[in-house]
Symmetry: C2
Subunit: 418 residues, 2 copies
């Protein structure tokens, strides 16, 4: 086996644990210097390859690479850029081959969600259609948890833990105040098309009556009357009502709640966004309850301080496994997480063609009959994903996250217009 | 010294550590059974006294009381209820005395912020003006950090840590994405009149250029042009702009940026929320940058999972100290935290008359010249408050928070209309 260099890049929305995957890739590669030469990280995802903006990861010490394991977000920069097909955009693929050749790259690792696995799949076809030998391994990552085949997507376990812990804490807050003050709390979470993240809020429930009392999924059409009736019931029964709402909550005709109450702010700009304030105003208007609402946004997917150890471990192992697959000569696969009967986890190589552009929704069987909660099956699926804590080190009261300078490898090629 | 019972209650907005104070009060009282008999907790603050809704804390095991130390929010319920003066509402004071007499209560501990210390102060005057012997000790609590005399208010240190950690993490997220996607992130935090909480975001900065790049304080009038110019500068210099905005951000004429949905709480305060979307739309409209925003709301003040150990320890000690003052025969005082030269902390008994209704704003010397950051003096003040981590225990991936059943002591008196 000749020594070839590797290209690794991070793509799409980042997570609390995507750098743990980078750590797994780089640490595993460093154990095989006779097979894998330099690991180049792409600056800002696939754009780094197209622009020949390569970061030689040998510039980083073992300590810095180890610190990636506990550092959230994308240390090498990410991007939202979707490669078109080879037929549509042959020039981009020729550019990739040119860059790969110039830097002797034989392994391509792409770490991302749906669109990114599609990109990885397209790149993997280069060997066959364009004759340049490259082994392409996709590595799963997305808080949306919507990749098929893999049991879950690294990044999701940590956002699930964040949402479960946060709604538990905020619900204790409102429970303390509800007698004479706020009666409704709404936490808006990510999930435009799939309700995985919102569903995780249900893990905060331990006994009948525990918060959150209502979960709103994109999979269930919002029914105003049914919703208000449930809110009223909760306030009358428990004294308060705690709600987790997906950003993608929409009505039966498909229109997002967050877009329905566009108003103009003090500066004359249309004010969009936020299903939580729409729900809050609805409740205030129809039921008169005092409310509070939170919108977690990036806080939820970057919250490395409360990451799930299970998620961190599997994000790391997915990176290691990608190297293993590459060394085994595989191409066009993604390490997919398997839940084993003994409570452990394993991986299988899943074909990228079966993953690219396939979006996995929550099974209907995970959503309770009234549409406002999850079933035991849903709970059984979710609970293992938030197991264990994996705190970052702290100095002076703050987590120590590594920042890697993006010193680029000298370019060998002319510029390329994207 | 005869044995007298004690009344303890939690008041106003709750925090991640107010139960640690309850733990300190009850554990310390249990060590002096020859002086303090039963500690009755008021159900929902002072309302529990007026309604004779008393919770005998002897019903809880030592383990349950110990667990209060790591449980956020108010285990006995809180309230937003402000006692009027004795002249205005003599009947309420007579009722208090009636309840105190009926349950042999000689100590009154009230755990809260500005309005609550005012209530404590009024109750403390009962001895003098109405002849019923009661020792009244206020205990500081408020995430707003706006009580005078005390170095800081328990609850603030933990929200400060939450904000610093969260904005650091979210800023890493946006830094990863900014090249091809989101360029501005805004995190809205609490603080109607004082910018203490927003200021804590600055602790995430370690080097020149570090996020957050802009902090908006209620103490500084919002200047649209100056703000937009700074946002543009940050995006052009650092690639992105990370902002922490106080909910109380307002223009020179005093109008809140987020005043559109103002309603009024029981204390007569405007209920705010949503300065972040206003800023986001302003930036989008004027500069065209893609944005994300988060509104932490209750998440920030209930986040026991990332509490400051310093804050937890001092919240606990404030409870212990309140018992100590009571046993020393003090009345109408509050244990005020003192920062000692050796890096340690101490307490002094501060007169409630000097605390009630006095609101402490951030010193001007803590705010940087351009109004968008903090000075070294501000940093020196804030940094000690977030030192140390104090994680709650976890079972099955979730923090274990204690829930105390509110079994009420049998009433001896007729109902009282409030």
């Amino acid at each position: 086996m000749t020594i070839k260099n590797a290209f690794y890049a991070q793509s799409g929305g980042v997570t609390a644990v995507i750098n743990a995957t980078a750590c797994g890739v780089i640490q595993a590669a460093r154990q095989h210097p006779n097979k894998i030469g330099t690991v180049y990280a792409g600056r800002n995802g696939i754009l780094g390859a197209l622009r020949e903006e390569l970061i030689d990861t040998n510039q980083y010490s073992d300590e810095d690479i180890a610190a990636l394991r506990h550092t959230p977000a994308g240390a090498f920069g990410s991007c939202r850029f979707k490669l078109r097909s080879i037929e549509e955009s042959r020039a981009e693929y020729e550019r990739l081959i040119e860059v790969f050749k110039a830097h002797d790259i034989g392994y391509f690792f792409y770490n991302g969600g749906n669109d990114s696995q599609d990109t990885a799949h397209k790149v993997s076809q280069i060997s066959e259609t364009m004759g340049y030998p490259i082994q392409c391994i996709g590595i799963p990552k997305t808080v949306d948890n919507d990749l098929p085949i893999t049991d879950f997507c690294p990044g999701f376990g940590s956002v699930a833990k964040y949402v479960a812990v946060s709604i538990k804490e905020a619900s204790l807050d409102i429970a303390s105040m509800c007698e004479s003050s706020t009666k409704v709390f709404i936490m808006e979470v990510m999930g435009r098309h799939a309700g995985w993240i919102a569903a995780a809020g249900a893990l905060a429930q331990q006994e009948e009556g525990d918060a959150p009392h209502i979960i709103l999924f994109p999979e269930v059409a919002f029914d105003k009357e049914k919703f208000l009736s449930k809110v009223k019931h909760c306030v009358e029964t428990y004294g308060y009502c705690s709600i987790v709402a997906s950003e993608g909550t929409h009505t039966g005709d498909g229109s997002f709640l967050a877009a329905s109450e566009a108003s103009v702010d003090a500066f004359g700009h249309a004010q969009l966004g936020g299903v939580a304030p729409v729900l809050a105003n609805l409740i205030k208007g129809e039921l008169g309850y005092k409310y509070h609402w939170a919108l977690a946004d990036y806080l939820q997917r970057s919250a490395r301080h409360i990451a799930s150890k299970t998620d961190v471990d599997l994000a790391y192992q997915a990176g290691e496994k990608a190297i293993e697959y590459a060394l085994e000569g595989l191409n066009s696969v993604m390490p997919a997480i398997q839940r084993l009967d003994n409570g452990e986890w394993g991986f299988i190589p899943a074909p990228l063609k079966d993953i690219a552009n396939v979006e996995r929704f929550m099974p209907k069987s995970f959503i309770s009959e009234d549409g406002f909660g999850i079933t035991q099956a849903g709970r059984d699926y979710l609970l293992p994903l938030i197991q264990g804590e994996d705190y970052p080190p702290y100095v002076n009261g703050q987590p120590v996250y590594v920042k890697l300078a993006h010193n680029l490898t000298p370019k060998k090629l002319a510029n390329f217009d994207i």
